[in-house]
């Protein structure tokens, strides 16, 4: 096991770099997981995030505000157009509403009485505009002898309708936790690809020296045995890295493991790691150029992640993008994380696709290695 021992020795020499790389990405994964909103499983009305600036402060404007508060979340804003525009641009607020001083008068005259900053292309804008127009239409409908009937309007607005949530197959109830695991493990695929190629590539460069290469060629070590030991070395390093990420999820959300299908994520991430390890093996056999390896690490990891739905959800991506994504194992990995799995059979297709990729990568790697050895 000389080759294996040497491989581990070099890996240990580089442990500082590999570990700090892993830790940086672990922190990124954790941040990525926490950035997402939690959802519930029974029907709840969507509450928009709106900001209100009231320059009128009349009875009418206050009752409008009360009505909007009941339906939406109010966020802080300030009367500064640049600030407001940025809040809309970034999606911090769905709409910012400015009520003018002569609000009551304008409402009676049915003029454009409220300024709304929002994005016309969003359904949310439709909703907030509907809410305001409805309220003011009702107000004007009750306008008699110079007075509104705010009480009647309020009573009418309290009238609700029933919404029934049609039974869904999903047995995982706690959506917030399910989402966390989904995002965390989806992001792991990016990280695993980036670290495997970069870190293992770093260790492998020591085997690239021409002199060492020639010496290895004339040694009595068999081609397959040599590759087996190299691969075993890579497997050890890779296993450690994946383990760190699995442990990361246990440490962070350990108490919720019972509420999600944890085995699904673990099996999936192990299979995916294996497939990416084979990809790494292939890349290292095609080239030992450190620049190309670093480049591959970043381009392949970011590129496949974007196209396979790690960064942007698969349902948002175009059909053509997904068609291309099917040529990478990441697509199948993300697919499993996104779906509800009741038994292993539910994900057999996606798992076998990943394994198929692994075998193809491995065989191609061995082929290139053989070609190189003959040269």
């Amino acid at each position: 096991m000389t080759v294996f021992k040497h491989f581990i020795k070099i890996a240990l020499r580089n442990k500082g770099v590999i570990l700090s790389y892993t830790i940086i990405f672990l922190i990124l994964s954790i941040l990525n997981g926490s950035g997402n909103v939690q959802r519930e499983s029974n029907f709840i009305e969507t509450r928009l995030d709106i900001g209100i600036i009231d320059n009128s402060n009349s009875e009418l404007s206050n009752s409008l505000k009360d009505y909007l508060k009941e339906k939406n979340n109010i966020i802080d804003t300030k009367l500064d157009e640049e600030y407001i525009k940025e809040q809309i641009f970034l999606g911090i607020a769905d709409a910012i509403i400015i009520i003018p001083e002569d609000f009551d008068e304008k409402v009676i005259n049915k003029e454009n009485s409220i300024q709304i900053y929002n994005d016309d292309r969003k359904t949310e804008s439709l909703q907030i505009e509907n809410q305001i127009n409805k309220f003011l239409t009702f107000i004007n409908a009750t306008y008699e002898n110079g007075e509104y009937d705010l009480k009647d309007v309020k009573l009418a607005l309290d009238k609700k309708t029933e919404v029934e949530l049609v039974e869904s197959d999903n047995k995982e109830n706690n959506r917030g936790v399910v989402d966390w695991f989904k995002y965390y493990y989806n992001f792991t695929s990016y990280v695993i690809m980036a670290i495997y190629i970069a870190a293992i590539g770093l260790v492998m460069t020591d085997f690239t020296d021409e002199n060492i290469g020639s010496r290895m060629k004339i040694s009595s070590k068999k081609f397959l045995q040599f590759n087996k030991e190299i691969y075993l070395g890579q497997l050890t390093v890779a296993g450690m890295i994946t383990l760190i990420f699995i442990l990361g999820s246990i440490v962070l959300k350990g108490k919720y493991i019972g509420e999600v299908n944890f085995e699904k994520y673990v099996i999936n991430v192990v299979v995916f790691s294996f497939s990416i390890l084979c990809l790494t093996f292939l890349i290292n056999n095609i080239t030992r150029n450190k620049f190309i390896i670093n480049a591959m690490s970043t381009v392949l990891s970011l590129g496949t992640s974007f196209m396979s739905g790690v960064m942007v959800p698969q349902e948002v991506l175009g059909e053509n993008v997904l068609k291309i994504a099917k040529f990478f194992p990441t697509y199948y990995f993300v697919k499993i994380n996104e779906m509800t799995v009741n038994s292993f059979l539910d994900m057999k297709y996606e798992i076998s696709m990943q394994l198929l990729f692994a075998i193809v990568f491995l065989l191609m790697g061995l082929y290139f290695n053989k070609v190189k050895q003959k040269a």
Binding site: L90, A141, V299
Partner: protein, 351 residues
């Protein structure tokens, strides 16, 4: 002066022929832009879509619903409801008693609920129908596009504007005798290292700016995404980004004795992590940081560039540009000064 000029030419040729440089600065940003574009093009061109509502043929309010612009009405039978909801052909179903069936909570479902409620509420309010003026529009619409995904592109540009970092690392290793052969030779000549370093910085700066220019032209004319409406401040920010990148590269190169391979990895990790925090992989991260630790986005150099780029180009706001440029300048000065301390007066007994 002539000396610096000659050094610039040599180092420029040297760098340009280096595969690493051409890849990271020229090709890689283009590849990333294409990836981002293919992944996001459909999201970027989103438009307001109508809401699909299912009703059965005897629904008493069909004629009202059909009047509403943003609803598409589909007449379906009782046993199709679940299937159509599952396939997302309809967002919700309204039955004869004005009860609603949906499959998930969402904005479209909420709007359907509000429409039905409005009809019930009008009954409850009990005023003659002519009192309602549905033609009246009380809203003065101030449209501002919400497009946090564009941040990804600005963040990409911000990241590659710091890619002078690789040239910075390279230049420093050229003048250090313990790191490169040329360094050894340079150290025994009467040539001044500082001039050689200065030439390296100038070359790195110009070549990377050139690469940035190509990326911007590519995004604008090939991908047809309009990112730059304001040139002056955008250019200053990009130049500052370049300067920062080169300074950081020089600092990484000078501050430790690791191999250039490791240094490149450090450089990639730092720029990627900073870009991540500025929203390159998920704009929600940026929003989250802005809300919980705003100081982070004010000191993160890539965030400074990203934020100011979208502010000046899309929001026409130049308020925070001054502060950003100041902070970037401080970084550059500190990095260059500490690198200088690392590099000065080095003697080697044996190499």
């Amino acid at each position: 002066m002539k000396n610096i000029f000659r050094n610039c030419i040599y180092q420029g040729k040297n760098l340009f022929r280096d595969f690493g440089f051409s890849f990271w600065s020229l090709i890689y940003p283009l590849i990333m832009a294409i990836f981002f574009y293919t992944a996001l093009s459909e999201v970027l061109n989103s438009e307001l879509e109508n809401i699909n509502v299912g009703v059965d043929s005897e629904n008493p309010i069909v004629y009202i619903l059909e009047e509403i612009d943003f609803l598409n009405i589909h007449e379906i039978t009782q046993d199709e409801i679940v299937k159509k909801l599952d396939n997302e052909e309809i967002d919700g179903f309204i039955d004869r008693d004005l009860n609603i069936k949906v499959k998930e909570s969402g904005i479209n479902q909420t709007i359907i609920k509000e429409v039905v409620e409005q009809i019930k509420q009008m009954e409850k309010l009990n005023r003659p129908i002519e009192n309602y003026d549905f033609e009246a529009d009380y809203i003065l619409d101030r449209n501002q596009k919400a497009n946090s995904l564009v941040i990804i592109f600005y963040s990409l540009i911000a990241m590659v504007s710091t890619y002078g970092i690789f040239a910075g690392i390279e230049t420093v290793s050229l003048i250090q005798a313990n790191l490169s052969n040329i360094g050894e030779r340079l150290n025994i000549t009467p040539l001044r290292k500082s001039k050689f370093l200065l030439a390296g910085v100038i070359v790195a700066l110009f070549l990377n700016l050139f690469a940035n220019g190509i990326l911007i032209i590519f995004i604008k004319y090939a991908l047809k995404i309009n990112l730059f409406n304001e040139i002056k401040y955008s250019a200053i920010l990009l130049i500052m980004g370049n300067l920062f990148g080169v300074a950081l590269g020089v600092f990484i190169g000078a501050s430790n004795k690791k191999s250039s391979n490791v240094k490149t990895l450090i450089a990639i990790a730092i720029t990627l992590a900073l870009s991540f925090l500025s929203g390159m992989m998920n704009p929600e991260i940026k929003v989250m940081i802005d809300e919980n630790a705003p100081i982070l986005s004010r000191i993160n150099p890539i965030s400074i560039i990203t934020n100011n780029l979208y502010r000046i180009n899309l929001l026409e706001s130049t308020k925070s540009v001054g502060e950003g440029i100041l902070i970037l300048s401080i970084y550059c000065i500190v990095l260059i000064f500490t690198s200088y301390i690392f590099l000065r007066r080095k003697n080697y007994d044996s190499i």
